[in-house]
Subunit: 371 residues, 2 copies
Amino acid sequence: MEKAGTFSVLARDGAARRGRLVTAHGVVETPIFMPVGTQGTVKAVGPDDLHDIGARIILGNTYHLYIRPGDELVARRGGLHRFAAWDKPILTDSGGFQVFSLSALRKISEEGVEFASHLDGSRHFFSPEKVVSIQKNLGSDIMMVLDECPAYGVDREYTKKSLDMTTRWALRCREAYPQGSGDQLLFAIVQGGFFADLRAESAAQLTPHPFDGFAIGGLSVGEDKALMLEMMRHTAPLLPEDKPRYLMGVGTPLDILRGIAAGIDMFDCVLPTRNARTGTLFTSQGKVNIRRAQYKEDDSPLDPACACYTCRTFTKAYLRHLLVAQELLAYRLNTIHNLAFFLDLAAGARKAIEEGSFAPFMAGYEAIYDD
Amino acid sequence: MEKAGTFSVLARDGAARRGRLVTAHGVVETPIFMPVGTQGTVKAVGPDDLHDIGARIILGNTYHLYIRPGDELVARRGGLHRFAAWDKPILTDSGGFQVFSLSALRKISEEGVEFASHLDGSRHFFSPEKVVSIQKNLGSDIMMVLDECPAYGVDREYTKKSLDMTTRWALRCREAYPQGSGDQLLFAIVQGGFFADLRAESAAQLTPHPFDGFAIGGLSVGEDKALMLEMMRHTAPLLPEDKPRYLMGVGTPLDILRGIAAGIDMFDCVLPTRNARTGTLFTSQGKVNIRRAQYKEDDSPLDPACACYTCRTFTKAYLRHLLVAQELLAYRLNTIHNLAFFLDLAAGARKAIEEGSFAPFMAGYEAIYDD
């Protein structure tokens, strides 16, 4: 068994990389899309469904699992893998993003962040050391450092102070879990808001240190797509060549392809799962809003190019009926398909990079999708 | 291929029967429990899940499917089997029960029943001929006649008039779809409320006619369990020996065993699916309310005697977490298990009857369950 953390770039096509990351629960082939499993389950699907569509690594959410059912309870169950019956890799975020987006009454200090639970308002405190301890309890394959994720539109001065503190927090996380002290990996998070020079400064502060991978945070908060892409393209090449790069919380199929083109290896986003539950489905022929009356009598599969259970088995007419009738099966079938689409996108990208045909591969999606 | 409607009793143990009913979509081994698929899906599970737990025949609901998506739309899709991707037998009820329980503004006449849609209040009319036409459109293997299902506590005079009309409606259904005119079967429904002599009269009126099976209706409405059982035990032996007998909408595991002991062959009930969604789970060790705090750290399977996906894969602690966190996966996993329990109950009963050990088999459940 190879050592957890080993990352190799197997092929390149422009800046796009075809890689391989070893974790304690198996190898992750990159570029990869990681379905989001906030509360210890990817919403609406089971591990059986995830296996069927070839999911290789899923996310767990530190904030949510800490609040409920509690990381110590999960640890007593043998960790998140055993608790959730998922034997493949898991990445846990640091909880920072949720603390800053879900919890109104937060108080940030050098020591960490105090916040109120979104469930019962009870007060809690996350320090860098605490989120490492929680993630150790969860037993994830990849842990993320605690970072401050400033809101969109925050000024330069605040952003600069914030990224400096995020660096200090990252180093405290690394200290709390020195590289090689176990088989969990720890990724740092580059911040710096929407200021190119601050992004560069954050990367310069973090990359000399022995993290197992580097993430770009804070780019899923904005509304300005062009600016987000500019920051992403600016930041990606500032990250080490020999470590995995992870763009947090982004995005649409095209965003993911743009990220891959910029040299990003790992992606997560609630878009496919959340959109599935409202009926916006991604297909090889574009987006389908399955609620629309035009699908009432449509006996074709959702996506003829897709091999998922939903597309192999059901018609658009039936999927529309299920969603309109608010049947629970709708959420599962739609989620299976949307995740299959995002996983197929990543698998197609891996193959295209190997074959040196990533640009035409991406152009195929640009011909169908426009955001 | 044997002729649809062929019913053979393979073994007996007391009044309990081990039978075999041929339908256009395959053989149904009886006694059988039929999961309820109101709107063209058994709530929270897919056909894949139903296959896995060995479901052999499911219910569809004439009223709901007529209202949405519409029986004619389903017919244009090739019928309910193709629409819902379920290739095994389907029984459709007549819609009568829903019209009488869901629709406040109903007007009953000899011709049929006028009612308001529970969705938009639009006015509709079900006649015996109409519900046969709807069920022909749905293409179910077993159709039910339109019956009036009087509310609990209705007086003798009303009940007598009602059962007489139910008989006339049943004969109009048979006339609209003469036996042998297609491979769909048609079952009549014995009514008569909670009056033993009226039950006998209803049975006497209906059983001379060429129906493919006989159901006992109107026994899922009461609150008096002893009276329900008395009526069931009184009515079952009044039904022909050589036709399948179906107790509609009943009930608990013990009720089903009591029905089997009385010579009933077929059962349906929303109990396992509805209870699954609120966390009341049936196990070989009794009922489990999975929300209870006592299961917070319980790493044992829900039911060690059960081989379903839920019990093979997850712990009580995880199932509790999913339900408390209102995760959609909870509904699927709980439903898979509860249905597996009811299907195993029926399978166990079949084996016990074959082996002449039905009484001790039933006693085993009586030792665990008390209603």
